[in-house]
Symmetry: C2
Subunit: 364 residues, 2 copies
């Protein structure tokens, strides 16, 4: 039997350098744990634009469709700011999400104990925090039509459409309820049902799926603005949060920042099962391409490495191996190893991207 | 000459009780500072629905159009959760904003020194914080058409439309630049120009207005998700933030919560100048109707009282009197007077809504 396949799209900015460390880790699992992967590299985002004039070629899209899992670094950078909307680096990522139909974006917001003091929040507010934000990723205002900029009289008008179908809401709700059952058994759904009809439908469908299929899970609803407040006030009240594409974008970023562990946070974007039973899947760190520090060996590879741990768990059913990797990361942090972003005001000596990767290899 | 007119719409939940304290303050300015107002009361939200079957009658709408300023308490409550979308309490507030064309919503996020320890953020992150969020309030996804829930095949589909015209963006941008000139001279504009064309237009128009009319103001742009992160990380980097209706809803609530002073924060919603030169204006606290504590004398009236201070400043050109009132509030806090919401984990004895109002009167 052939090895499972991984498509690596390192992308822009710090993407390539953090992905280098992930490759070392992947190699280790092949050598030491008999878990070999067939790895292929390709381009996405600005890097693909530079080479091919498009942020994602059809050929790469097809490889992604056929891979057992895709690992992505990061996309974007100031160099591409003036590009036309249709070829911006982000369009490559959005095309992957849409065409692979990756509707369920899992964004854990976890506070690593060794880093709790690093949050702008008080220690007791964040220490031990472990919530999972499930963000709908293939619909809503990101993809709704009509969209664009047109003229009315002598004015420009910008339009986007927020659109959700019942089945789009139902499937991401199921994904959230399933996760909740394996965690704290609580789901909070967030929308603006008080001002948006798409939010009214969201609330109804989540409630219906709950009542029919997951009555054992505790479900609550919150307006997204109140949700943003509550995340800032007392995030530990949440277990799983399920929300739409745009609210999920803001809320998961805010939550990630609150943990003080932004450079540590992975994400998984999952779709329907393929013929081999594995879900279509893309894994990427929550942080961006950080062009200001790119190429200097300063980036923290942990978020990207933990994204590979999520791949082990969600694509390859290797929960034990995922934990092994997560434990290794914890050990390295507990030992006081820090990349530059993890140094508090007290300072200290940072280690490089590669040194962090090596330290994790050693801990493995 | 007749006195300027105030229309008071106390609304639901704690609205009436906090507004009672504002009325005492209004009375004081008439008696002691020769600043008398003609005050009229009317209904909005659930209270209006209970009396008339609609959250805002045409008669009230007309009074609001003709008042020199409107003061609003709060709308909404669980009692109205099952009402049809079109008659929900919120529709009353949204109709006022839309028909009075109150396009510029000023939401100061200030940290009151006496309350800095009350924030979930570390003291040095919030102490002295003073930012102004300018939220577009009459357009965007709150009001765009088409909207609604319809059937496609046997599926329900929920639709809302995010729509911004050039002139809608330009006027709120001007409002933000004007404010910045009287403060720290810095504006940060937030949108999702990387995924939404309406955000692309937003960014362009804000930049154009800046270059043509306010080149002296420092302008930056940020994606709204990064903005949410930065507000949580180091809010003091901001002076004025300008953003659209929906992002403004989430970001201003998050910012308000971060200050630890939620029960203290007022807001002003301003439109174009009327025949008498005053802007159309509605003032309301940022907090909601808090149905869980309504009618118990526990609510904090300060946000509503400070909303009246904003009215003095922005509608009646009484900046000195506004400061007098703001100073009185600060004094009462410095004296250790606290309503229940302002007591930290250390506890203490709370004073009632009316006692807080009286304390402020005394300090005046
Ligand atoms: C890069 C950008 C298109 C993307 C998004 O808006 O979804 C990012 O912010 C994210 O959250 O993954
Ligand atoms: C009550 C509701 C309609 C309103 C809004 O969404 O604008 C509120 O959250 C606010 O921010 O004033």
């Amino acid at each position: 039997m052939s090895n499972p396949s991984l498509l690596i799209l390192a992308g822009d900015g710090i993407g390539p350098e953090v992905m280098n460390e992930v490759k070392k880790i992947i190699g280790w699992f092949g050598d030491k744990r008999d878990l070999a992967f067939d790895v292929e590299d390709d381009l996405v985002g600005g890097a693909a634009y530079d080479a091919h004039g498009t942020p994602l070629t059809d050929a790469t899209m097809e490889k992604a469709q056929n891979a057992d899992a895709v690992l992505l670094g990061a996309v974007g950078g100031p160099k591409y700011d003036t590009l036309d909307f249709s070829v911006k680096p982000e369009r490559g990522l959005l095309r992957l999400r849409k065409e692979m139909d990756l509707y369920s974006n899992l964004r854990p917001a976890q506070c690593f104990d060794a880093l709790a003091d690093f949050s702008s929040l008080k220690r007791d507010v964040v220490a031990g925090l472990d919530i999972m934000i499930v963000r709908e990723l293939t619909s809503g205002v990101y993809f709704g039509e009509p969209r664009g900029i047109h003229k009315e009289g002598n004015e420009r008008v910008g339009v986007n459409t927020q659109r959700y179908t019942e089945s789009e809401i139902a499937r991401v709700a199921r994904s959230a309820f399933e996760l909740a059952r394996r965690r704290g058994n609580k789901v909070c759904s967030m929308e603006k049902a008080n001002v948006m009809e798409s939010g009214v439908l969201w609330r109804q469908v989540v409630q219906e799926i709950h009542d029919a299929e997951y009555p054992d899970v505790e479900l609550s609803h919150m307006y997204a603005d109140a949700g943003a407040m509550q995340l800032c006030r007392w995030p530990k009240q949440f277990d799983v949060i399920v929300t739409d594409n745009l609210f999920g974008d803001l809320l998961s970023d805010a939550a990630a920042m609150l943990t003080g562990s932004l450079g540590m946070l992975p994400s998984a974007s999952l779709g329907a099962p393929m013929a081999n039973g594995r879900p279509k899947a893309l894994y990427e760190p929550v942080h961006g391409s950080a062009p200001d520090i790119a190429g200097q060996g300063k980036a923290n590879p942990i978020a990207c490495i933990l994204s590979f741990a999520m791949a082990l768990r969600y694509s390859f059913d290797q929960g034990t191996e995922a934990e092994r990797l997560e434990k290794a990361v914890e050990k390295v942090l507990a030992d006081g190893k820090r990349t530059a972003d993890l140094l508090g005001p007290e300072g200290g000596t940072p280690i490089s991207t590669a040194e962090m990767g090596d330290a994790i290899l050693e801990a493995l």
